[in-house]
Structures are given as structure tokens and as C-alpha cells.
Amino acid sequence: MNKLIHNEMLKIIRKRKLIVVIAIMAVLISLFTYAQFREVQRQIEKLGDVDWRTTLQQQIVDTQNRLTSSGISDEWKAQLQIRVQQQQYYLDNNINPAEPGAPTFVRSFAQESITLFVPLLIMIVAADIVSSERSAGTVKLLLTRPVKRWKILLSKYVALLLSISIIVVLMGLLAYVISGVVFGFGGWKAPILTGFTSIGGELNTSHVQLIDQWQYILMEFGLVWFVAIVVGTLSFMLSVLLKSTSASMGVMLAALIAGLILSNLVSSWQSAKYLFMINLDLTGYLAGSSPPVPGMTLLFSIGVLAVWAVIALFVSFSVFVRQDVY
């Protein structure tokens, strides 16, 4: 079994997929860092001084103004309302929600990337993990070995899990190192609030906890990793089911983008909350933004995602074991 997994890791590495993923991450993180840097510059220019309380107060006022403009959707309005109350809470407790430094960048980057960026990277590795063997014909060589089919598939899946893990960790490291050059490397111990919940557009602060930023980041990356595994597992299933890699990538991509669009639309469509792509924004629960469908919680979303992943695994194995290969 170890040999098999080693063999699969070798394939992933030899195809230079990890290198490609790392390169994409490095380029994009540099871009985001630069954008963030410009934003900070603009703030300083506009407000003159750099005290965070001034900036935060200004953000609150700006959001309040956006709230009063007509023609914004109810979903978006609820989001903004929660955000204002949260910012006010930070301000009242004298806690800076964006302590300057690389850890803050890493934190917000993980939050932004969980719904689309990370899943896309994972698809690069996962989408062709089985189907490429079939299109190249190597699957026959693999299956003629005296090893059970499910073991072969399992070794592929384990190799996928390992690559996902290292990609997520590398993303964190890259974000830290690249943004640290610009913003400085300190700020791990900065206080962060988590545990906000929203009930009917009102912010509930009775379970709010104050934790260090490094704890928050660790939790966040745990969630990013979980989402990555679920997306990876689904792509893995598609890779088993569909002969063409581009088809399985296309299906996955369509689902992810549909999820992004739907998240802004579905607050009145209750049963949408059982779709996996609506549940991807797990870090939003940590930060306390209002969920796409009212009543969704972190554990609910994790549960839904887990069920999807388990079903996908089941389908993958039962199909792969019985499939005719020719």
C-alpha cells in the first residue's frame, strides 16, 4: 500500500502539478498584496492619519451610507447591517480588526479564497487523477498488476489528500512570506473576535470570544482544508465517472460558479442549503458574516459537505471496482 501511494505521489510530482499550483499561488498572492498595499496608501492619503479607529469609523459611516441607498438587494443589505454592527463592536471594545501585518493578510486571504480560489487549485490536481490514466491507456498496466482495484483507487485518493494538505499549507506560507515583505511579519498575537452569530439581521454577541490571531488562522486553515478535501473528493468522483478530464473540470467549475451566484440569490429558497456549493464559505461563519440561507450554521455546513463527500467516495469506489476497462 505504501508503495502504491508513493507511486501516485510520484505521478503527481512528475506531472509538475504542484509546481504549477505553487506558481499560480505565488503570482496571485503577489498581486493581492500589491492591491492591498495600494489600498492602505490610499487610506493614508485620504484620511491623513493612520490611526485604525479613524479608518474603522470611516468604514462604518461608508457602510451606513450604502445601506440607505435604494436598490440594493435584501441579502446584501442584511450582510451590510451585520458588518456595521460588527465593526461597531470592534470599535466599542477597542480591538483593531485589521492589525497591520502579514498574519492579517493571511487571515483575510484565506477568507476570500475559500469559495473559489482554493477549489480551483485543487481541481488542477484532482480533475485528471483517474481520467488521465484512462486517456493515456496506462490504466490497463495499472490494473493488470496483482493488486485489488479498490487499493489502487485508495492509493490515488490518499495521494490526493496529501497533495491537498501540502497545497493548503504552502498557500498559507506563501501568503505569509510574500505579504510579510511589504507589511511586516509581526501580528500573530493580535486579538481577534470570533463567535458572532446573526439572528434576523441582528448581531448576536453573547458568544463572542477573543482569541489570538494565530489561533484564528489555524482554525481558518482547518476549514479551508476541509473545503479543499470535499471539492477534491467531488472532482475525484467526476474523474472516475467521466472519461474526459476537461469534462470533469467543466462540471466542477460550473458548480462552483453557480454556487457563487446562488449564494447571493437563495435566501428565500430554503432547500438550496443542501447544495454543496452554497456551503463552501465556512470561514464566513468564523468571521460572523450572515449565511446565504438564514439559519445555516457552521456545523450544518460541515455536515452537508461531509455527506456529499462520503457519497462521492462511495460512488467513486463502487463504479471503479466494477467498471469495464478497454
Binding site: L10, I166, W225
Partner: protein, 258 residues
């Protein structure tokens, strides 16, 4: 491909896997335990020290301060700052806390916040527009003006404004406060006589209150919009347009002396 290289990557991946698994289970454990709030009051760190370079303007109030209706999005505050920057060499810092739709009680609430008070403390000039939403309520009041209702609204407004002024004065005695008065956006409609009377009376009450405080100026705008009101109003027939805002800005700018 080097075999040891693959092995190293594999072991690093296993390490990554374990760390992330730990993070994930910690999150779940944390969410399940649902502890009571642990937020303790953070020690109030040192007073905000704003570099006292140049002059600071703090703008408070409603949509006029925000600039609603201005095609360029500046509002009278934007034009005012531009004009002042031409006049002086000093560096100007503007803090615009205007929120669309604010009524006097909301302004009072806002001014009670610590951060705003810190900014007010450092201000050299404070400019406000308030009262428009108290009186007009989005146009409701003047459609069917009832004397007793309006005087009720006015009493509330004057009380809130008084408290606001007292608060500001207690924080910063030296700043000059400019309060921009109301104009009558309905002067073109029938019933202009009634609406005009109401607005004038409202402005008079404001002015009367402001007279009690030193360094406080009531800036009338009624006359600016009196003759060609439609040239100066935005398409909602309520907020000023760019030209209207420029008129207000010119008037306030001519009053500001450092």
C-alpha cells in the same frame, strides 16, 4: 525524478495533513463548546495622537454632508475643501461622517461614540447639516402640513440639537461650528407660502438655539435656492445637484477663517 525527493514531499504532506486536521477539529470543538463571551474590556490604549499638521475639518450630518445628488459625488464638503485648499497652503484633513438619511437623534447617537469624539477634539472646524430629514421625512410632512405635528417635530429636533451642541462644546471649545440651514425644495410647488413659512420658522429656531453658543455660525441657504430652485436641485427634486452644492460650498468657504 529523485526518489528521496518524492519521499520528502510525502512526509511534508503528512505533516501538513496532521496540522490542518488539528486546526479543523479545534474549530469544531470550539463551535460546539459555545462558551460564554470572553471579551474583556481592552485597556484603553494611549489617546489617539493625530499629527497636528495643518487643519482638520470634521463634517457631520445627513445626505447633504454626504453629497447625495452630486453627479461628481463630492457634495458641498468636497467643493468646500477644494476651494479652501486653493486659498491656503496648509494641509487640510477632512473627516466626513455624514450618513444619508440621518435625523437629529441619530446624529446625537453618533456623536456619543468615542472615536468620533476623538476626531471632534482635534477639529479646527466642524461643519454640520441636520434637520432636513426631521422636518421633511422624505417629503411626507409638507404634503399635508399640520401645525401641531410640525411643532412637535421641531421640539424634538431642537432638544436633540441642543444636546449635540452641548456635547461637542464640552469636548472642544475652540473649534468653530458651522451649521448649514435648510432651504425649501418645494418652493416651486403650489402651497409654497405654507412650506416657506415652515422652513423659515424651522431655521429661525435653529438659529435661536445656536446663538447661545460662542464660535457657532448658522449658515443660511434658503436664499440660494429661492429663485431658480429647479436649476439647483437633483432629479429627486429634494437634494441639491452639483451647482447647488457649489453654491453652498462657496457660502461656507467665505465664512471660514483660520
Amino acid at each position: 525524478m529523485n526518489k528521496t525527493y518524492v519521499t520528502i514531499v510525502s512526509f511534508l504532506s503528512i505533516g501538513a495533513f496532521l496540522v490542518l486536521l488539528f486546526g479543523f477539529s479545534w474549530t469544531i470543538q470550539n463551535q460546539l463548546s459555545k462558551e460564554k463571551s470572553t471579551v474583556r474590556e481592552q485597556p484603553q490604549v494611549e489617546e489617539i495622537v493625530n499629527e497636528k499638521e495643518g487643519k482638520t475639518i470634521v463634517a457631520l450630518g445627513d445626505s447633504l454632508t454626504r453629497g447625495t445628488g452630486d453627479e461628481e459625488g463630492k457634495g458641498y464638503i468636497g467643493y468646500l475643501v477644494e476651494e479652501l485648499e486653493e486659498k491656503t497652503d496648509e494641509k487640510l484633513t477632512l473627516h466626513n461622517y455624514g450618513v444619508k438619511g440621518y435625523r437629529s437623534e441619530q446624529l446625537l447617537n453618533q456623536v456619543k461614540g468615542d472615536t468620533i469624539q476623538n476626531q471632534i477634539k482635534d477639529a479646527d472646524v466642524i461643519i454640520m447639516t441636520i434637520g432636513g430629514n426631521d422636518l421633511f421625512q422624505g417629503g411626507q410632512t409638507l404634503v399635508s402640513p399640520k401645525q401641531d405635528e410640525i411643532s412637535l417635530l421641531k421640539d424634538q429636533y431642537v432638544r436633540n440639537l441642543k444636546e449635540t451642541m452641548e456635547l461637542i462644546k464640552s469636548i472642544n471649545q475652540d473649534a468653530v461650528i458651522f451649521l448649514v440651514g435648510l432651504y425649501n425644495p418645494f418652493i416651486d410647488l403650489e402651497d409654497a407660502a405654507t412650506t416657506t413659512a415652515v422652513v423659515r420658522d424651522w431655521n429661525y429656531s435653529t438659529n435661536l438655539l445656536l446663538d447661545q453658543y460662542p464660535n457657532t455660525v448658522f449658515v443660511p441657504t434658503f436664499d440660494l435656492f429661492q429663485l431658480k430652485v429647479n436649476d439647483y436641485l437633483f432629479s429627486d427634486k429634494f437634494h441639491p445637484n452639483s451647482k447647488g452644492y457649489q453654491l453652498i460650498a462657496e457660502r461656507v468657504a467665505s465664512l471660514i477663517t483660520w
